[in-house]
Symmetry: C2
Subunit: 365 residues, 2 copies
């Protein structure tokens, strides 16, 4: 699955980004520092990424004429979210390279396809079984056991499209609560920590991963990331190896994140892959202030055909999301030494909406 070599973009070239949220915004800011322009394409009029670029397109992902015009104005196209419709990627691909390659979208938009792909690499995941209809439920429960988590195969994020099924729970009503769409049942993993690795792969095959990050979620939304993760060197090496192997197996060009469960030492100290995000990732935001090269810069370098950077971490780093109304308290972070405030320029601070983040760096001395 090697990608054909792409020529390095000259400074001043334009990278098109599908998606106008904070990830697109931070990608555009990273590109600007490297003298590259970005054009943003998004269907939401209040897209915060529009504010940091000269050229943007406000149009539906189904608008083939707008997509064609957009593609023609760009030198290469990338995306900030994994649910880009396949038809959208197809239209764009007719005009310009789309990176990471759209086949990765197909692999990661469906939890079942993604898990089968990972399993085929002999990389462990939580046990899982497909449930396409109610008639599959009994066999799935027999295979996986309870408690378990029922997840829609497509379009889940931040805990949406998931139902816990307890030891004595009712998987049928959980399935119906998810509108009886195709699902997978995942065995419940008694993990010690949730960790993630953000890895970049260049078109020439070089892979560079960041240090393993430890993540805490609240209400299914990432709240805090800490690096380095409190795991053994062996677990850290395994986690990075897993992420790097997946990037290579995808023939990936750009940055991806692999979320993993780190099991306790009593259960072998292994990591199980939870899910793959084929994009820059919230758990990598610490790299903006905590490392000499950020995940956003790595992604831009990769899709521009530039060499990857070799990040040096500035110390211990903690990233905290400002979610919903928490953003109104941003001012108290402004005067803390070593703390950096990022506000995304979004409008209304709705509950659960990621409005900004703060990063604290404690230098290693």
């Amino acid at each position: 699955m090697a990608d054909p070599g792409i020529p390095a973009l000259a400074p001043g070239s334009t990278i098109g980004i599908l998606g106008g949220g904070q990830l697109g915004r931070m990608l555009a800011l990273a590109a600007a520092r490297l003298g590259l322009q970005c054009a943003i394409y998004a269907p939401e009029a209040d897209s915060c990424a529009f504010d940091v670029v000269r050229h943007f397109t406000l149009a539906s992902y189904a608008d083939e004429a707008a997509l064609a015009r957009f593609a023609q104005s760009c030198d290469v196209i990338t995306y900030e979210f994994e649910n880009v419709p396949a038809a959208t990627a197809d239209v764009l691909s007719r005009y310009k390279p789309v990176l990471p390659h759209p086949r990765v979208l197909a692999l990661t938009q469906d939890r079942l396809v993604e898990k089968d792909f990972i399993a085929a690499l002999s990389i462990p995941t939580a046990p899982y079984a497909a449930i396409d209809s109610e008639s599959d439920i009994a066999a799935a429960v027999a295979k996986i056991g309870l408690p378990a988590v029922l997840k829609t195969r497509r379009l889940g994020y931040d805990g949406k499209g998931q139902r816990m099924v307890g030891k004595d729970g009712d998987p049928v009503s959980a399935f119906r609560a998810l509108n009886s769409v195709p699902c997978i049942l995942e065995g419940f993993v008694a993990f010690e920590r949730e960790v993630s690795v953000v890895a970049a792969r260049a078109a020439d095959g070089e892979v560079v991963s960041f240090d393993v990050t430890e993540n805490e979620h609240r209400d299914h939304i990432l709240k805090t990331s800490r690096v380095p993760a409190a795991v053994s060197d062996r677990v850290a090496a395994e986690a990075r190896h897993v992420a790097e192997s997946i990037a290579s197996a995808f023939g990936y060009v750009g940055v991806l994140a692999v979320e993993m469960f780190a099991l306790g030492s009593d259960t072998g100290g292994r990591v199980l892959v939870n899910e793959i995000a084929p994009r820059v990732h919230n758990s990598g935001h610490w790299t903006l202030d905590g490392a000499s090269v950020s995940q956003f810069e790595q992604h831009i370098r990769a899709v521009a055909g530039w060499p990857l950077g070799h990040p040096i971490r500035h110390g211990q780093v903690e990233m905290t999301n400002l979610i919903g109304a928490e953003v109104h308290g941003y001012a108290r972070w402004l005067t803390e030494p070593g703390t950096t405030v990022h506000l995304y320029g979004k409008g209304e601070a709705r509950p659960g909406r990621k409005m900004g983040h703060v990063t604290r760096v404690i230098p290693d001395r």
Copy 2:
């Protein structure tokens, strides 16, 4: 000269920036990280700052209607260069606060007025004398001696508007070579190092300065800055004190830079002020990668009425400008660990044009 308090801007507010070069561009990128919008006003169609904002105005600084519309779209207005015409600042001030206060422009646009202001603070400068016409030359030379440097009072930068007059040189022909415009004759200073201090002052009077930077020029253009400067603690403290005193005396709001000559220990280890830049400054670019808060962020915080940050330096830092065709060699810096590449998105790499810079950080261990 205290400024009236300005209310803190809410995230999402718009800061207007006069000037569309790399300083405006980096100010806008810093503002974006804080959730603040920028609008750029510049008369050059190829202004590189236009590329990183949603709203810009391409118009002359004399276009009162365009200035009025621009001011009405902003919450506060600042500038990236010191030669903003007084009339331009006056028009804008009718509509919105202009920070730093335009009176600072008047003080720093004229070398004689600036030097008189500094002298009135009992801060040492090189000896100087005004030359308004040829009839002033003999007295000026008698006072200052030769060798000396003849400088136009207004509109000089990067060595433009200057003539060395050697021990046996002809000050009259130097004056004529500068079109006989009003000048000052400055005594030649046998300095040990050129240093600068970038200082920020908030509307509430708080002043925070960055570490003293040592600068090397080539062909009168800054080539390399290193921090910390190789000066004694006493000289460093004096340099910071000088910059902070000037910021306070101006009643300044924003970032300014003070360039100084550090004399050798045989001549008392003092610093003499060379010139003041009422804006972010090339010798402060190292703060983008070498400190937890950059000069650009400090300026944005100050003009937004936000508290200043308290920067932590990440180690020893060296900033090298990419001037003219040097920018074409940017790729070799991309893979050096701890090195950050900044390209300004300017078009043609003309000789003497600042096209980008690279920063190398060596962590203190």
